[in-house]
Amino acid sequence: MRVNRIIKSGTFRLAAAFSALFLVLTGALMGTVLWIVDNTQTETLVRANDADTETVLNGFSDEGIDEAVEVVRQRLGNVKYSTASRPDCFMVLENGSGAVLAGNLPAQPRRIGDFTTTLRDTRIRGRGTPIGEGAYLFVGRDLGPVAVTRERIIDAFIWVTAGALGIASVTGVLLGRRFTRRVDAVARACKSIIAGRLDERIEVQGYNDEWDRLASAINDMLNRIAALLENLRQVSSDVAHDLRTPLARLRNRLENARAESTSTTQYAQAIAGAIVDADQILSMFAALLRISQVEAGGRLAKFANVNLSELCENVFRMYQPVAEDYAHKLTANFDDGAQVRGDAELLTQMFTNLIENAIHHTPSGTAIHLLMRIAQDTVYLSVEDTGPGIAADQTEKVFRRFYRLASSRTTAGHGLGLALVSAVVQLHDGGIDLADAHPGLRVNVRFPVNCDR
């Protein structure tokens, strides 16, 4: 079972494929080596035959057939014997009528030129030459040593190849087992997560190899999914809890209208009130949906170049009369020509939400100052007021959905403004904090000029 898994593993298959390729290449190499060695050795024999033939021919042309016979005899006297019966050199000199004059072979069929033949079960490279007056000379050499070399080379290749294949197989199995183990670890973690243990993570072994990188990436993904799930759970419970209040109010109003209204005017009033309640619930839903849209990150695709200076200026102009109506003093100081990558609509909404908060949660006569500047590729945007501020222990909580400070429970709003601001800031890869402006509150937002992620 386990071996079967290893054999099926991708690494093992890869090792097998490489072994096959190795075999083919080794075969080709062996063929080439054999061809070269064969040729070289055979050529040496042919040259030796040529030299012997030359010597006999010279003797014949200098002093006639007797001298040729003498040369053959001398030459054969020096012949080495590889075994008792196998000399490494064969010669025969025949006269015109086919009688053997000298040599260590019987009379030969008179083949002329360079050829290979078999004599007494021995492969021989030979040369036949007519030397004049009808005489014929045959010189040959044993091809046995060539065959022996050939066998040795083949043997060597077989052993080396077998050894290499053995090592490759063992390595393949070992690597396969190692990789299978790591894949199994990932698969186990995934199965465990599928089974509901959402906090399960894949072990990162610290080699910083591709497996560790894969494990980290999967873990990051799981963390993100866990955060989204937690977010979803949070939203569901928020919705269940915080929408119940306005829905209950709506229901009470309708119930009272049925029980107590006696005229169409009263009914009309009750219905108008019910529509206001319904609109409030709908606007809470719209705000919630917008926050979750932003948090889901789908709007990243809509990022474009935004003229932030113009955007800030427009929002400032938009709120000047509003601030005047509330007897607030609204001032602004924006850097010129600030260009950023972002979602113009969301940045506008973020900025207006911050200004809305400053206007709504401070008494008349409060000074509100807007600031936007760019330093070192970071946008700094702040809204500062001289109002009552927020206690230090509340500064984290105000970013939660539906969270409302005790002091602002009576003012209009649904407690989603800062949650959206925070989501927009995060979408732009930035940060937000609340600071004490002595007196008052300063909301600091910062995000990179280019946050294409």
């Binding site: 719209a286 102009r317 005047e324």
Partner: protein, 228 residues
């Protein structure tokens, strides 16, 4: 099925309850309305008939609202207003790119739809360089405004606000329409941004005059009266 104001509308909406409410109320408002609940039938009707405006749901059986408008635009330029669910906030740009003219998120007040239809079905004119509404005249090139020949100083945002009101003189424009068209704001800012600006504009226009040309229509929006 012919309305008394001479305007013909085509409603393509598959939600039966919403469709019947809209049909009844649009007919009350003197429009002649034809209704289809299938996208393909709606497109065929839009191509065959002569309508002043189309009200098209974004999600339709047979053919998506977006594809319907794309197909329609190859042949006709009848004004189109989309209706969409709340989760489709992000679709606005896609909808307008496909050739739609306006976008309304469900649920909406009927007055909002009616105001937008009135603006969509106004007789198309060439972009004018001058606007006139009663005693008020606006020069769009010189960026000047006069009332009874007297110059009126407006800051740029007041100018844009008045321009939109004058282009739609005698028609109700809602807060939402003003936010979208004057400030490019597609969300509810919460405070009375529009009210504050209208009040500044009113003050500027009334300086030295006894009548107020901007009428507040309770629960609906504002109307610039051309007769003042």
């Amino acid at each position: 099925m012919s309305g008394t104001n001479g305007k013909r509308l085509l409603l393509v909406e598959d939600d039966g309850e919403l469709a019947s409410t809209l049909l009844a109320r649009l007919r009350e408002s003197d429009y002649a309305v034809e209704h289809h609940s299938d996208g393909r039938e709606g497109l065929a009707a839009a191509l065959a008939g002569d309508f002043d405006a189309l009200i098209v749901d974004r999600m339709l059986p047979g053919m998506d609202g977006l594809d319907l408008v794309k197909a329609l635009r190859q042949r006709k330029d009848t004004p189109v207003i989309y209706l969409t669910t709340m989760s489709g906030i992000d679709d606005r740009v896609a909808g307008l790119d496909a050739g739609g003219d306006d976008y309304l998120t469900k649920p909406f007040a009927f007055a909002e739809l009616l105001a937008r239809i009135r603006v969509l079905t106004r007789r198309a004119t060439h972009p004018p360089s001058r606007l006139t509404a009663g005693s008020i005249e606006m020069d769009l090139l010189a960026r000047t405004v006069t009332r009874d020949g007297r110059d009126i100083d407006l800051v740029p945002q007041e100018f844009r606000l008045l321009e939109y009101l004058m282009k739609n003189a005698d028609r109700v424009v809602t807060r939402k329409m003003l936010l979208e068209n004057v400030w490019n704001v597609y969300f509810d800012p919460g405070t009375n941004v529009v009210e504050s600006h209208i009040s500044r504009l009113r003050t500027s226009l009334k300086q030295g005059f006894s009548t107020d040309p901007i009428q507040t229509v309770r629960g609906e929006g504002y109307r610039l009266l051309a007769s003042q």
